[in-house]
Symmetry: D2
Subunit: 260 residues, 4 copies
Amino acid sequence: PDSFFLIAGPCVVEGEALVMGVAEKVSGICKNLGIPYVFKSSYKKANRTSIDSFTGIGDLNALQLLKQVKETYHIPVVSDIHAHEEAALAAEYVDMLQIPAFLSRQTDLLEAAARTGKTVNIKKGQFLSGPSMKFAADKVKHAGNEKVILTERGNTFGYQDLVVDFRNIPWMKEHGVPVVMDCTHSLQQPNQTSGVTGGNPELIGTIAKAAIATGADGLFIETHPNPAIAKSDGANMLKLDYLEPLLEQLVKIREAIIST
Amino acid sequence: PDSFFLIAGPCVVEGEALVMGVAEKVSGICKNLGIPYVFKSSYKKANRTSIDSFTGIGDLNALQLLKQVKETYHIPVVSDIHAHEEAALAAEYVDMLQIPAFLSRQTDLLEAAARTGKTVNIKKGQFLSGPSMKFAADKVKHAGNEKVILTERGNTFGYQDLVVDFRNIPWMKEHGVPVVMDCTHSLQQPNQTSGVTGGNPELIGTIAKAAIATGADGLFIETHPNPAIAKSDGANMLKLDYLEPLLEQLVKIREAIIST
Amino acid sequence: PDSFFLIAGPCVVEGEALVMGVAEKVSGICKNLGIPYVFKSSYKKANRTSIDSFTGIGDLNALQLLKQVKETYHIPVVSDIHAHEEAALAAEYVDMLQIPAFLSRQTDLLEAAARTGKTVNIKKGQFLSGPSMKFAADKVKHAGNEKVILTERGNTFGYQDLVVDFRNIPWMKEHGVPVVMDCTHSLQQPNQTSGVTGGNPELIGTIAKAAIATGADGLFIETHPNPAIAKSDGANMLKLDYLEPLLEQLVKIREAIIST
Amino acid sequence: PDSFFLIAGPCVVEGEALVMGVAEKVSGICKNLGIPYVFKSSYKKANRTSIDSFTGIGDLNALQLLKQVKETYHIPVVSDIHAHEEAALAAEYVDMLQIPAFLSRQTDLLEAAARTGKTVNIKKGQFLSGPSMKFAADKVKHAGNEKVILTERGNTFGYQDLVVDFRNIPWMKEHGVPVVMDCTHSLQQPNQTSGVTGGNPELIGTIAKAAIATGADGLFIETHPNPAIAKSDGANMLKLDYLEPLLEQLVKIREAIIST
């Protein structure tokens, strides 16, 4: 395909105004640039570091808002699930199910996601290599679902840092599935003593450009009109105003890549 | 307490002869040496690398065998759970619930384990620091259960190796809970191209001795009469014949530690 | 500047035919593509893993050949030095002195290189961060030489692997000096039991494209007509025939980057 | 041998009162405990992070003070060298030459140290594995000197932390040489933005106990009466008052180890 695709949206469904606002803005930008767009937002958060963190507005409320995004803007939507019994319900509302990195080896979860028939986007564990993600992809395929995407999101690099190993882009493409770079969570600074994961959002462009240059098929970018007040992952989301100029530059890099 | 405690047994419940045989042998050794003993074996395996791996003999069969061990040898038993809905059932059979390392931040799972009232042994994620395990322990405590154990099992060190950071022993003891060293899984060699995790079992003694010397309250050691034919983790289990001489040496190191 | 620059050549000066052949070929390619070119080859090798490895054809012979390259093809040449007393001699023959990664904090060496007045290209230690390379660059500047280049060459990632952290490109550019990506040594596989460092040369393009996309000012690529018979670093050198098509693609990515 | 040996002293020769005071105190403690003692202090510092750091009181002054320690207290002394031409001079004053970790692969340096006939203590590079240190030891042996010691000092673990891998104790003992644990530098926190390496001195006992328990032949501990005012490595030196109780405990662990 000529363009890369974009999975983007606010980290978690905070409310209607936010999700509809972001969806309208980003779908407009992507239409102009010819970028296929999938709206992403989590309908619940189950694996926050600290028990005091925000976990959502209620599952059905959030899923209903995702459906509203889908129907209003005619774009596919994706959300993540954390337990096998969530798969069937989520699949009634969304087009793609995302498997969190920590859970990327949980057979029950992968199989339940697979059986919905929806596309399954598996985040690569921070402790896993690109080549070993073949085994995760195969768990979905063996359950009868060939629609698998693998997403790089950085590797453990000491306790409080992640590093993106771009060798994983070509290595995971060898598994015969689209490969996405998560430009948001790969910049996390985990294990902070505060219990709140930190970040380096000024480097989102660096990660995104390297990903497109090395052949990534898609990008995952969490974005928010005002990350400073976001209820989750504010430390790493891209300010919405910065998205369009970044995508314009990425489109040019993509053109350079596919022209040769 | 004067002695450390031991959590030991075959990785997975393969059948009656195996679990009863190991329980008899190890409980005898531990009685002689004055070591409190908890029998460990998994009643199912949900997160194997490859979908072709052995996952168990059936949940109820395996849980029933764990109960038989408990009643025959008058020792507590522990098994691991992988989803919140497994907690209540497993708790009918075992005395301690173990949370796998990959799942050590899953709030639903930790809370479900906590609500059973059983002791909850949380393995430290390969991507987590000892200090950050406070947040995992607190999820159990906030659910009303103070019986928490934290277990070190090594940290990601490149793709195909783990390293044990013994600083985590004193760091996790600061959380006010017993700290265990998993001498088996901390020697894993993950992400092998074969899809089968490798190991270094000749170093079990090295890890165990350093753990006792640095103040670990307990040790976790998977053991099997013949690791070469074990159905899971054969690459890292201690041959049962080697357990007694190792424990004798560890008892002496423990005495050196507590005498000062 | 519009183009990135290229530092390239065979790892070590093996003999006249090799260095002159590579210099002619690469200088021709670079002239066509408008890429400033610096010929690189080591006149001796002092830090091989094993004492049995090839270390050179004699210092003066090798330096003389570097001068011949410079005068024949009218291109600057660079070689690495390993001890402060080598600086003055090498500077009589070459235009740029390169400081090996392991030695990037050796004050005596950096100051001796600085005092020659030649450009000093400091490789980032595998154990150092991009931000901390400011201190290495400052050692050269404080000795009165502002002509400093910093080169990323990968970070320790477990014992037998390196990972390139592309955040170091923008981080090192903040030090106000040109930043180069070493696409050869960053793919090394160190600590092999054979005593011979391994590699992944099929990924040279991946590293190079990501570097240009993230703003690197230059690339360092060791190349050889037949890496399989090279006397050093054969595991990672680019086959000379592959250089031109790679550079053509990199020029297009560079144009995409600077056009926005 | 029954006891482990101790290499200890202040990081750098700051002046006569300091080195003589530490030597008197530590040699007395070690005599009482039956621990062979080697006095350590650096006569110069060549690889400080920042050019503004203290580098010494003058080479000959410092070497003369080391000789005074040796003759007054009848103990061997050790210092580190950073370039091959320093070996012969230093060897006139000290009994053991130490090779810094960053320089542990520099053939010229290892050979020059070997040719003095003094014991050569090679620190393991933060980027090297224990097995690969065989190649460094062999460079000394091939130069005709069998008196080699290998010292573990931690491995790169992200940018700002080191981790000690105790597997390296048995792995390096396989090379047939005494193995030492450096309890000081293995607790460094490198790459701090201040340009001053940080530390965790409260964990010195943790590292030392694990080292003795896993079979280390010797310990390296930098100590100072008042680390807060030390001119180098203050962040990691053990306060001199804490040394005796620590050694007493280590002697007991050693007895537990060798009794079986």
